[in-house]
């Protein structure tokens, strides 16, 4: 079984409230919901471009 851990976040627009972010080639503006897979993009959370909206969810494919 492969487990993919996904977390939902909301784009904040950063310090200016107007900054877009781009993840996997897709652009998100402030207020958009973003799902992160893995840890490599967590810098966007640490630097305030994303804030958590819900508890982590797990999706498994058997």
């Amino acid at each position: 079984m492969t487990e993919v851990r996904m977390s939902k976040y909301i784009a904040t627009g950063g310090a200016t409230g107007e900054a877009d972010i781009e993840i996997a080639g897709k652009t998100y503006s402030a207020g958009d919901t973003v799902e992160l897979v893995g840890k490599k993009d967590l810098w966007l959370v640490e630097q305030g471009y994303l804030k958590a909206t819900s508890k982590q969810t797990s999706k498994g494919d058997k």
């Binding site: 950063g14 310090a15 200016t16 107007e18 900054a19 877009d20 972010i21 781009e22 993840i23 996997a24 490599k40 993009d41 810098w43 966007l44 630097q47 471009y49």
Partner: protein, 250 residues
């Protein structure tokens, strides 16, 4: 072994003009005033550091072209709006070094020798203005564009520049648009990334209007991540745009 560069690839952007083809020498000088504190009984002179400053001196050929050296250097002398300058060092390539500055033109001279080409020279004195933490009122950074013309349909994310590490003290970015025939607004941004994969806007320049030529300098504070890139997009369906973007970390 040091990597030297040749001065022949230098480029000069002043406000919305690429004046490179008119100049053949650009000098950048940084200075720091000192005040003498030598007192009676001292054997050696002593000094304390005062304020820092920067100047740019340029010389080249006189020309009466529209948007050329004479027209623009005359217009900038005494202009209430402080010009924005970017001096490209080295090749016209993303990642090449660039010096960015805000500087008032303080001197403009024309020389007409009987046996030689008519020449010009101009001096600029740097002032921080909107970018108050711009040390020496100028800063060394990197080019985020090659300064070449890009067709409206080819705009997008440009190659990234790796600084090897993030920095913590903000920075400033400059934009110069000397040529623009895009039939619609163009949005130009500087983005940063911690992993060269996901990106966030660092600086969003004012939207460039249809066929508009413009320039702008904007500063940011705080973390600037390891990777930087310029990105541009337009809703226009015709034309092309030439723009230079540079960014200096503080």
């Amino acid at each position: 072994m040091p990597t030297f560069i040749h001065g022949k690839n230098t480029a000069v952007y002043i406000d919305e003009f690429d004046l490179s083809s008119y100049f053949n020498d650009v000098s950048v000088t940084l200075d720091n005033d000192t005040a003498e504190t030598t007192a009676f009984g001292d054997t050696n002179k002593s000094f304390i550091l005062g304020t820092r400053g920067g100047t740019l001196s340029m010389s080249g050929m006189w020309a009466a072209d529209t948007d050329g050296s004479d027209e623009e250097l005359q217009a900038l002398l005494g202009n209430a709006t402080t010009p924005i300058l970017t001096i490209r060092q080295g090749a016209a390539a993303i990642g090449s070094r660039a010096i960015i500055a805000q500087a008032n033109e303080t001197n403009y001279a024309i020389s007409n020798p009987v046996a030689d080409v008519s020449t010009i020279s101009a001096d600029f004195e740097c002032t921080p203005n909107q970018v108050s933490n711009l040390t020496f009122a100028l800063a060394g950074g990197v080019q985020l564009t090659a300064g070449a013309s890009i067709a409206h349909g080819s705009l997008g994310d440009l190659s990234s520049v790796d600084n090897a590490a993030s920095s913590a003290n903000g920075g400033a970015g400059t934009l110069h648009v000397p040529t623009n025939t895009v039939g619609g607004n163009t949005t130009i941004k500087i983005q940063h990334s911690a992993n060269n994969s996901s990106w966030a806007d660092l600086i969003s320049f004012t939207v460039v209007g249809s066929s508009a030529k413009t320039s702008e300098i904007k500063a940011v504070s705080g973390t600037v991540n390891r990777y930087l890139r310029a990105t541009a997009s337009t809703a226009g369906s015709s034309g092309s745009i030439t723009f230079m973007v540079a960014f200096a970390r503080f």
